[in-house]
Symmetry: C2
Amino acid sequence: MNFQFSDKVTGLQASAIREILKYSADPEVISLAAGSPAPEALPFKELTEISKELLAEEPSIAFQYGVTEGYTPLRDEVKKLLAKRGVYNPEYDDVIITSGAQQANELSAKVLCNEGDTIIAEAPSFIGSLNAFKSYHVDLQGVTLESDGINIGELEQKLRAGGVKLVYLIPNFQNPTGNTMSWEKRQKAFELCKKYGAVILEDNPYGDLRFAGENIRSIKELDTDGSVIYSGTFSKILSPGIRVGYVCAHKDIIQKIVVCKQVADVHTAMWSQMLCYRFMKRYDIDEFIEKLHGVYAHKCGLMLEGIAKHFSSKIEYTKPEGGLFIWCTLPEGVTTQQMIDFCTTAVRDYKVAIVPGTAFTISDSDETRSFRLNFSTPTDDRIVKGVEILGKLSKEMFGE
Amino acid sequence: MNFQFSDKVTGLQASAIREILKYSADPEVISLAAGSPAPEALPFKELTEISKELLAEEPSIAFQYGVTEGYTPLRDEVKKLLAKRGVYNPEYDDVIITSGAQQANELSAKVLCNEGDTIIAEAPSFIGSLNAFKSYHVDLQGVTLESDGINIGELEQKLRAGGVKLVYLIPNFQNPTGNTMSWEKRQKAFELCKKYGAVILEDNPYGDLRFAGENIRSIKELDTDGSVIYSGTFSKILSPGIRVGYVCAHKDIIQKIVVCKQVADVHTAMWSQMLCYRFMKRYDIDEFIEKLHGVYAHKCGLMLEGIAKHFSSKIEYTKPEGGLFIWCTLPEGVTTQQMIDFCTTAVRDYKVAIVPGTAFTISDSDETRSFRLNFSTPTDDRIVKGVEILGKLSKEMFGE
């Protein structure tokens, strides 16, 4: 049968990372291509212990249906945490639990955007969100991302043109670049979006993973009437496999997201939510997060050291203060195809997997000579070895 | 701030059942309004035992990211089960794991339908799916549901009019009516949809819960080229709170659903999937299902007995051979408002919660004088008492 698919999914492709990940299935391949948190920093033992207790004490809550908004005790804990961080304002905001921040971001687009409405994203940005937006057939437009955040002039120009419903930003240790938006730019972007009536979707999956520099306040903290949607997740600090995130936004927006979540998956798995709740009750989450930082600082440092030592000096790279990623840019003049060749040769011939920048462009036809490195997932040995191998290849292909 | 929501969600309301469920939060209220499986039939002990083992043996699989298609060992087990039932044809079908059958149904609409495309559903039908379809701004049309399934003449008329992308059917123990589609009608509906190029979405959450009568083959068994999408779930037999369902369809359709699932929630919670897999490996799932039937037969029988004894003789009701629900219809001439009054009086003044038929109509303005009873969730005592109370009220309002 020849199926006629909807226009919104016809152009959608499975994430380009998947092709590279296929090579990564080979255990010999050193993968610097992942997006997972550091496995040694996840509290598997504590979660396992908590699981035993909750299943012994409240099996019927864990196994039966729950409400769409989320497990109430967890919602209350997340509200407390976000209030403490200045993100949640009980006067007009509400908070619900989602199946990962991915769902929060997807449903934000669904409730706000008609087909053809404009969404602005940093260029480059996180493929999962970009594809979520595209799956609602919106007009997705990129604004250049600089080392201190989105280009404000370009942003204003696009906002002024009209039709912008949503501005999607990952202000902390952005995926894929590792860049962090300055406080100045956060304020300017907020003011501009207010002025032109666009809602900001502030995605903050990596904010907890700051291992250097000073914390910068969330854009949501500037909000006085609910025009910023804030999404977060337990994926990077407790476990990605449990699929628990949350979204804080104006009550009216949350109400619409709840209706859409109800038809999407009814509710997030109860056991996963109860795990997060009990973890937050038992441990001081901020102290716990603090303790993770050593792992990330060490691994990032190790990778940066290797890059400085081995990479062709013509390659530029970011020096993130948190998160999971380093973004490398090949010398001027290198074409998109040459960058892809570099990535493909690395995994095919040298068994080191990295993600080509094309995975993060707004449009498939956008040019890029960058690639993404992940330092959180591999072991120390593999970071050292992987970067050394990449370095050699980079010098062969692009000179000392 | 005055938010402008997308057209597709503007008209969507939270499920009407929710209002009734608010009253049900009062522990004194006898709820015959639920849609949950019989709690005493769910294998909480076995699942708890399995959970301990899997977290001890494979914590890193349970807590880390998985692939969007689902946990491979579970996919393979589900494929085996569906092949055995004649539903899965490896030549052109594929099977993935979803976050409940709800997600399978929602994403089927998303990948196939543009805004304005027609989806046909039985009238009445399951609110969760109807709202999922509406959330893609399709033209949702109802076809009268009879005791042996959808009205075939009406179905053909609507198919002939053109523009029908999807025909949504719950052939076994339908929600809300408990009706089962005859084999004859299944064949006719299949042939008509083939003829007019519409895909059938066969939703089978209750098929395992047949406690009387002869099994009727799935529509998907008639399929020879992948024009039927089949969705199923572990919610009614193992646990609804774990949120695990599956969808079997042509590889091309599955591929698009995977892309949409990736942007929806990345993957279904790993622990939930591993629980289902290990349960299927340890127990003979068909034997296990067989053992559930006694519970359902007993509870349904108890409710039917009470209805026969206490209800106004002018009320008609279905006598299901499986599933969770009985559908009652008030005497001819009773208006929609009077039906709602009956339901509201029952919960407010007599503390018995039931679901008004308006929760299941295709359009908010459709008339109905029916209501839904659930026999699986309440205890025996509560079934007996609840039906007696409803019976008294029904005689007061509608005569002996």
